[in-house]
Amino acid sequence: MGQLSIIDMKKIVFLFFLLGVLFVLPAQAMTIISPIVELAAEPGQVQKGILKVYNETDKDLSLTARIEPFKAGSEDGQPIYLLPQQKDEYLSWFQLSQSTLKLSAKEAAIIPFEVVVPVSAVPGGYYAVVFWQELAEENKEVNNSTIQGKVGTLVFLQINGEFEESAIIKDFNLQSNKKVYFSLPLNFFARLENTGNIHLYPKAEIEIKNFLGQTKKFEMANSQAAILPQSIRRFETIYPGDLSSADFLSLAQVEFKNLFFGKLTAKVIFTYNDQNKSVSETISFWFFPWRLAVIFSGVLILTFLLFKINRKVNLLKKTLNQKK
């Protein structure tokens, strides 16, 4: 009974711990709806936009807004937020209708803002993040550090005019960078650099051609990933898809359907600017599907054996007939 009680006690403590972890009330919980806002304006124009913030918590939140510049932080679309500097004077173009906000529990707010673009604004892309952060209470406890959260809306501002849209392919290859491949899938990657001054949403297609001129085309990028000016974005694709759970025959079937054999060329074509501009690059490599080779060799050997057996049988029949 005593032992059972200890086990029960342990279970109760564990359950309480679990409940504590699962249902602990968050100190701050904010949601940004429409987390990317895209605007376009002419120099001298006032463009309007909206931000949406939602208080996830069961308590009131007092929020304050802060506008910061951001730039590409990696090749997979992660932003890096920067401290505003003198060169970021475009941040002063942003005028929020309210820079502080009180949200009741489970309440959302739409915050209108204006971008007052000066006549002298240089055409191109301007990038800002509008963060909403709860005003933290001052910690009076000794050794206590303050932990704060902020959530932001990325704003892509395009100033119309003669901006520069250009890109170059920095890399295009297969991940393993070999000259010869013996099985599918093929893991391609490409790195596209935006050399202009406005963000791009490129589409990309890869075309594989064998020595017979037969081709296969598939999508690599679908214009849902932006490339900020003067930054590189990496795109990856697996052709014809993840085959890790496929068995021998299924893989052989896939290889047969794709008719890849011998020297292949793969061409990536990036299009952007509403498909008016494109850049491409071609690589070549050898492909010998070993599964097909095994099956083909097996069929050849079997055919040869059947032919031999048939010949023997016919010879035997002929001998028997002669004896009769």
């Binding site: 429409s34 937020y81 739409i110």
Partner: protein, 243 residues
Amino acid sequence: MVLTKKLISYLLLISIFCLSPINHIFARMESTNFIIYGDVFSSGGREDSTSANFGIQDTIGEGLALSSTSTSSNFGIKTGFREMYADSFVTLSLGSGSLDLGALSTTETKLGSHTMTVETDSLNGFTVTLSGNTLTSGINTITAIGSIAMAPLIGTKQFGINLVANTTPAVGADPAGLAPIGSAADQYRETNKFAFLSGATVATSSAPINSTIYTVSYIANISSDTINGSYATTLTYGATVNY
């Protein structure tokens, strides 16, 4: 009398809606049986717009400029009838607004942790960055570990964090949730190693994720020549979607 009350109520409602500088709505209405993603708060439109050839019950767009914008050299579409698609979102929630590492010691590593929950349906995922200074007490500081994760070393000035489960010291937990979930970033996912660099990405995903519970663990050590005091800092975790 009743008519007057009604009139006052209507005027009050109209003044709240028209004069308020921000429009308050509930972002998402839901019950056990349905979810309305795009609850609308429109401020204009007519029931009887007509011409010689057509009649239409119209409304202006939900806002002056919506997030989803189609543009070309000749046109730009920002407002529409209503947002009839599930709007994208990113949520950040911190389990605590404070952290108490206690009095730092030369004989043991001081530990602390809190949860951080992130969720997004954004196609390219999210990024959470850390900003803030290392622990300080007046002019005295505890050295931040920096961008490369290191194991805690008792008797050495150190302050760092990570977002995974550790055994030595026993603190933290791996990111948890119903797959797909986010992951800890590069140097912040090394078991038993900790890093601290202001501006660094600490959690990320490259695709939509379900609610992911991170446990942010903190370690602090001091050396024998460290001046005793109350060491504290202010740290900010910032979340946005990836583009």
